[in-house]
């Protein structure tokens, strides 16, 4: 399955977000989320009770709940992107897991960088397996060399895709494999990670730039989808 097929396949899966709020804060959320496959419902809470919160359900199953303010903080750029690996707040990890398999229509660079970091961080904590990362331009890759240098110290087999390559490969001393001519793949910003064992840490991010410089894409922890995505690079 090509990356494009994966994006459209996931767009057809329905997920529900139920906003419980004493007021009409649901509109705000619909604007910020801008997705293809999330239905947003609103339920009134008694005025005296709780702050607004959000429940995510997937095919009728409860996936998670969090306060609306936590969710908005996560969604509203700039998303904080910690420089060191393994320092993402637990709160944010949960939000990534809640919103996986959601096709976002408009993600900006900051949000994608933050999501990439969550995936790179997951790989780094796992410490083994294989990771394939695609950058659309050399500058984007060069900005991430410190992260990839750290990943190179693990047992992970790392492959990096940079169209046209980089002038002085900053990772030449590392075991990282650089791919420079990749056809269709060059249009995508992607990270695919397979933990090489149980698959519990497998994850993927696939995004494509739209005309206005924003991105459309998704991230997933679904093993089948990650396996499909790997078929595209293998």
């Amino acid at each position: 399955m090509s990356f494009g097929r994966i994006l459209s396949e996931v767009a057809s899966r329905e997920k529900r977000v139920i906003v419980y709020a004493p007021d009409d804060s649901v509109r705000e959320l619909a604007d910020v989320l801008a997705t293809r496959n999330l239905t947003i419902d609103h339920r009134q809470l008694p005025a005296i009770s709780s702050d607004a919160f959000v429940v995510v359900r997937d095919g009728g199953e409860f996936r998670g709940a969090l306060s609306l303010s936590d969710l908005l903080e996560f969604l509203t750029p700039p998303v904080r992107r910690p420089d060191d690996l393994d320092s993402l707040a637990r709160k944010h990890r949960v939000v990534y897991e809640l919103l996986d398999d959601t096709v976002f229509v408009t993600l900006d660079r900051q949000q994608l960088l933050a999501t990439s970091r969550e995936l790179e961080d997951r790989a780094w904590r796992t410490g083994h397996g294989r990771l394939h990362a695609g950058f659309q331009r050399a500058a984007a890759f060069e900005a991430q060399t410190s992260v990839y240098r750290e990943l190179a110290t693990t047992d992970i087999d790392v492959h990096v895709y940079v169209p046209g390559g980089v002038s002085e490969d900053p990772l030449a001393e590392t075991p990282i494999t650089l791919h420079t001519r990749n056809g269709e793949l060059d249009r995508y910003w992607f990270i695919l990670f397979d933990d090489g064992e149980t698959g519990a840490q497998n994850c993927a991010l696939i995004a494509r730039e739209t005309e206005d410089g924003r991105y459309q894409g998704l991230w997933t922890y679904n093993e089948e989808l990650v396996a499909e995505a790997f078929k595209t690079v293998d």
Partner: protein
């Protein structure tokens, strides 16, 4: 027939009216002696019943506004607590009815209504500080 008026609170308990079902005091105060049950009473609208799953969603979501995000494990735990502890207690006190998976609050006698409302307001006033 005269209304018995409590001098300290001004609550009115119509006397001699045997049609009104007052919850026994121990059961009533026990029902209010847990934050989950107070929240449950605050969230349950008298008119529209909720399913057990919806009620669990609300309690877990409400909890997440203070304790941070919650996942399916927490949800399952809260649902079990509801079924085995909180709901039976509230049903025994006559504050909640459960029929065919539908849960609703009953119509309370006025003093009980005020007490439940007070418990909710007290909770949010004291815990939001």
């Amino acid at each position: 027939m005269t209304a018995q008026e409590n001098r300290a609170t001004g609550l009115e308990f119509p006397s001699g009216d045997s049609d009104i079902d007052y919850p026994p005091p121990d059961e009533l105060f026990k029902a209010l002696a847990s934050s989950k049950r107070r929240r449950l009473l605050a969230a349950l609208p008298a008119q529209s019943p909720m399913t057990l799953d919806e009620l669990t969603d609300v309690l877990v979501g409400w909890q997440s506004t203070g304790d941070g995000p919650a996942g399916p494990d927490e949800w399952a735990k809260v649902k079990i607590e509801l079924v085995h502890a909180h709901l039976p207690l509230l049903v025994d006190a006559g504050l909640v009815s459960c029929e065919d998976e539908e849960i609703a609050s009953t119509e309370y006698p006025e003093p009980v209504e005020e007490l439940v409302a007070f418990a909710g307001e007290y909770e949010s006033a004291v815990t939001d500080r």
